[in-house]
């Protein structure tokens, strides 16, 4: 339940940033970080990878990190 509520809260935060037109360079960084946290929670707790061998857990984590870093680079450079 705690994981679910965290995911909902971070989603509400992202929506409010857009709805209230608060999006700025700083907010984009925060949105990317919160998206990483949400993705990590899904990978670990929903997909159930928290307790599998590291080599299997690291693949989606790396995917998420690389995608978000590239998005960040594209928005900032």
């Amino acid at each position: 339940m705690k994981i679910y509520l965290t995911l909902v809260s971070l989603t509400i935060f992202a929506f409010l940033c857009g709805w209230l037109e608060l999006v700025s360079s700083t907010i984009i960084v925060i949105l990317l970080i919160t998206t990483f946290i949400k993705g990590q929670l899904i990978i670990d707790h929903f997909m159930g990878l928290k307790n599998v061998q590291f080599k299997y857990r690291i693949i989606p984590i790396l995917w998420l990190s690389i995608v978000l870093i590239f998005i960040g680079v594209a928005y900032y450079t």
Partner: protein, 188 residues
């Protein structure tokens, strides 16, 4: 002490599919972000035509549905087929809301004359969201088949690899949307 399992939940084949999906969607997400640099103003203006509320509702819908699937897997691990099938039914019910909201959103865009050739933003928007939409439909079909088998007592606490396989795919659909929502609907 927590013992590490050898492999991820479900059939290993589904994880090969999941990794392929990762590569495909990564190309689309990163392609969108870098294509935006060529005309930031056009992307920002076009993005204003999207309904953020629809994107927000669909994010909540997928997170909730995914959580219900987690509860279904937990229930079958306790050998409770009835409870597990109930959670799966709820997951499908909530997941179906995504389809309704998305169809309404697509119809709205098509009525405005928006299509793949409108501009680069809408090309990416339609490619990403239609492609993801097809994954949601496939995910719901998979959930329905798991639900039917669960109803018939086809899974137990000792044999539920099929359910975990379908669940892994459904969580992938959720994970992809978690990235898509802020990227396409919010960040400008």
């Amino acid at each position: 002490m927590i013992t590490k399992k050898e492999l991820p939940p479900g059939d290993f084949g589904i994880w090969v599919i999941i990794y392929v999906e990762f590569v495909t969607f990564a190309a689309l997400f990163i392609g969108y972000a870098f294509a935006r640099r060529a005309d930031v103003a056009m992307f920002n203006e076009s993005q204003l035509l999207l309904d953020q509320k629809s994107g927000f509702i669909n994010t909540l819908v997928l997170i909730t549905s995914s959580w219900f699937v987690v509860k279904a897997v937990q229930a079958i691990k306790k050998n409770n087929s009835k409870l597990s099938s109930d959670w799966l039914l709820r997951a499908m019910g909530v997941g179906s809301i995504f389809i309704v909201v998305k169809i309404m959103e697509f119809l709205d865009k098509f009525e405005q004359g928006i299509n793949l050739s409108t501009n680069t933003f809408f090309m990416f928007y339609l490619m990403l969201t239609v492609f993801h939409f097809l994954h949601v439909i496939l995910g719901l079909i998979i959930l329905f088949n798991i639900y039917k088998k669960t109803k018939l007592g086809g899974y137990s606490d000792k044999d539920h690899i099929g359910m975990e396989t379908g669940a892994s795919y459904w969580h992938l659909v959720d994970l992809l949307w978690i990235v898509l929502f802020p990227l396409v609907y919010i960040m400008r």
